[in-house]
């Protein structure tokens, strides 16, 4: 109550503003601010990279780390040795070294050294190193029996499916196998492709620029009257003035065909245009002065760039998949129209691989499966020669690119470069399954292809 007057007074002045303000106050404030150091102005340091790029980079790095960790976690259980090592390390100091860890994988910790040695004679060669090492291991300061048992029990739980374990009274040692497979990530490129059609004796089409024959003029000479006979004046090679390499028959038949072979059968140049010459360009003649109609088609060998991941199924077999990018370039010439076609595919390989043989630093393997591809982009750059000998260029987007499918079988040779990094060579035979010829490419025209790939393979895990 006594303070009510105070509240009333404060409420009266709540938001109260003076009607007058001092003149020139802001000018004085400004001059003081100009004279003073800019303490209040916080200058943000310039970012080396924009916030978007920084955050994107962090997201990509986190994703890669998560993927790597996820993959390692998924396949960590395949490596019982790792579990063993972890368990063994709990037992005693003597069991911490690598050789003893391997031995514990085979339940050596439970069995006397002598029994193990005598019964390891039948083991695979890869265990021999372990044998000698086990021999020298003494469990002089062995851990307590309870610890040993706990280690053993842990090993049993983790190795039930894969490793034969030895009972306490048994002298048989588990068959330790060759070092197990590890998941891997491979990066490869393959582009040396050989199509199997080279064995054929049929025609093939070669790219040639328009009017490559120097005797055929590119454009009509207005000073030269057009002869009645549209046949160009090509020197007769028989008179010795013919151009080297023979001459190409321009005629496509009719009454103006050149005279047939009248006995000079050794002159192979006098052939009818109806019979194409193997190895020679096939040209359809269409008269003098104008550009001859030609039909060319050339498909460049595709190049594959890929990232593959191999998931081991057991010691020998593995499942391989990944992402492979391929680009197919083709060139078409028809008359005055020249087309450059480029189609890109994103392929997913689905293969099964098997280790055939190997040593410490090398492996021979084989893989087979299929590869499915989806067209991600396609374009055609069309160049049309106009009557006035200028060019009209257009670019056309290709829609409805058919799915690509191929069967792949390949052997491979892999050798170690560094600790977890291997290089490999993998020639492969591919059969391109016909899925439609809406757009002709190297793969559609060559069903069987030999491909040579080179790559680097990184093994994940210890």
């Amino acid at each position: 109550m006594a303070e009510k007057w105070k509240e009333n007074l404060r409420s009266k002045f709540d938001g109260y503003e003076s009607a007058d303000i001092p003149d020139g106050l802001w000018i004085g404030i400004e001059s003081r601010l100009d004279a003073a150091e800019p303490v209040a102005q916080s200058t943000k340091p310039k970012r080396a990279f924009s916030l978007v790029w920084s955050r994107s980079a962090v997201a990509v790095i986190l994703l890669m780390v998560a993927l790597n960790c996820g993959m390692m976690r998924c396949f960590y259980t395949y490596f019982e040795g790792e579990t063993d090592a972890k368990n063994v390390s709990l037992a005693s100091d003597n069991l911490l070294n690598v050789e003893v860890r391997r031995a514990s994988r085979a339940r050596v910790a439970e069995i006397g050294r002598a029994e193990i040695i005598s019964n390891t004679a039948e083991d695979e060669d890869s265990v021999s190193a372990e044998k000698t090492e086990v021999k020298s291991v003494t469990v002089s300061s062995a851990p307590s029996q309870e610890k040993k048992d706990s280690v053993v029990e842990n090993n049993v739980r983790s190795e039930k499916k894969k490793v034969w374990y030895v009972s306490k009274n048994s002298a048989n040692i588990s068959k330790t196998k060759k070092a197990k497979q590890k998941p891997s990530v491979s990066m490869f490129v393959s582009g040396i492709t050989v199509d199997t059609d080279f064995l054929d004796s049929g025609d093939y089409y070669a790219t040639a620029p328009c009017n490559s024959n120097p005797d055929i003029p590119d454009k009509p000479n207005p000073d030269i009257p057009k002869p009645d006979n549209p046949i160009p004046d090509i020197p007769n090679p028989d008179d010795g003035s013919g151009y080297p390499g023979g001459w190409v028959d321009l005629f496509d038949g009719g009454e103006d065909d050149p005279p047939s072979d009248d006995g000079d059968s050794e002159n192979s140049d006098t052939r009818s245009a109806r019979t194409p010459i193997p190895g020679k360009p096939k040209i359809d003649g269409s008269g003098y002065g104008n550009t001859v109609e030609k039909e060319y088609e050339e498909h460049s060998r595709p190049i594959y760039f890929g990232l593959e991941v191999a998931f081991p199924l057991d010691d020998k077999w593995s499942f391989q998949t990944g992402l492979v990018y391929s680009e197919l370039c083709s060139t078409f010439d028809k008359g005055a129209v020249h087309t450059d076609q480029t189609i890109s595919y994103l392929n997913v390989p689905l293969k099964v691989g098997v280790n055939l043989a190997g040593g410490k630093k090398w492996d021979i393997y084989a893989s087979g499966g299929m590869m499915l591809g989806v067209g991600v982009s396609g374009k055609a750059e069309i160049q049309k020669r106009l009557p006035n000998y200028s060019f009209e260029r257009t670019t056309q987007r290709l829609d409805g690119i058919p799915v690509a499918a191929s069967l792949v079988a390949s052997p491979g040779f892999e050798f170690r470069l560094f600790r977890s990094l291997n290089a490999y060579v993998e020639p492969s035979l591919m059969y391109n399954i016909p899925t439609g010829r809406k757009y002709r490419t190297f793969n559609t025209e060559n069903p069987f292809v030999l491909n040579f790939g080179l790559g680097l393979r990184y093994k994940i895990g210890k």
Partner: protein, 191 residues
């Protein structure tokens, strides 16, 4: 309700136009606050100039959490600058009155008066009374806190408050006593 957050952000980044905008939005209110403590146009101008410079120089340290906080923060700066000015310029302002006058229980009834009249009455108070009155009423300080701020005793603070209330009542109702007369009244009351 004015959204000061955007303006504050601009002021923090050194935008002079934003500073001027903040000045324009708050100058009348802060002038009224300053006039409660300082009498004289030139002195008010000096105190306000000093206050605004301090506000703009230290705006980077301000963390706004509520809408009204920035104005409270600026008001506090003006009040502090006013007190510093009074302490420096009018050393005699705070007379430590040692008499033991009982605290005035009467309320200062101001409902019938406008804020302008009350302000004019406050401006006519002696400096000491005015300062104690402002700190007690508008800054909601206790007598102990006022005593610490002004360097006087608690009882002196209470006494000066009583006298201030009486004088304001007298001014408001009489509306005749000038500043000089108010000081004369102070002298008479002190006797």
């Amino acid at each position: 309700m004015i959204d000061y957050r955007l303006i504050i952000d601009q002021v923090k980044s050194g935008n002079r136009r934003a500073m001027q905008q903040l000045y324009s939005l708050t100058i009348r209110y802060l002038t009224a606050v300053c006039q409660r403590y300082i009498v004289g146009e030139d002195d008010v101008k000096d105190v306000l100039q000093e206050s605004y410079v301090k506000i703009f120089m230290n705006i980077g340290t301000f963390q706004q959490r509520e809408e009204a906080t920035v104005l409270s923060w600026m008001t506090r700066i003006v009040v502090n600058e006013s007190l510093m000015f009074i302490r420096q310029k009018e050393h005699y302002a705070f007379i430590d009155i040692n008499d033991e006058l009982p605290d005035c229980e009467e309320e200062l009834e101001v409902e019938e008066f406008s804020a302008d009249d009350i302000l004019k009455a406050i401006m006519q108070l002696p400096t000491g009374y005015r300062t104690v009155f402002n700190l007690y009423v508008f800054e909601d300080k206790s007598h102990r806190e006022i005593a610490q701020i002004l360097g006087i005793g608690e009882s002196s603070s209470a006494s000066q408050l009583n006298r201030a209330k009486k004088m304001i009542r007298s001014i408001l109702y009489n509306n005749k006593i000038s500043y000089a007369d108010g000081r004369e009244m102070e002298r008479k009351l002190a006797e």
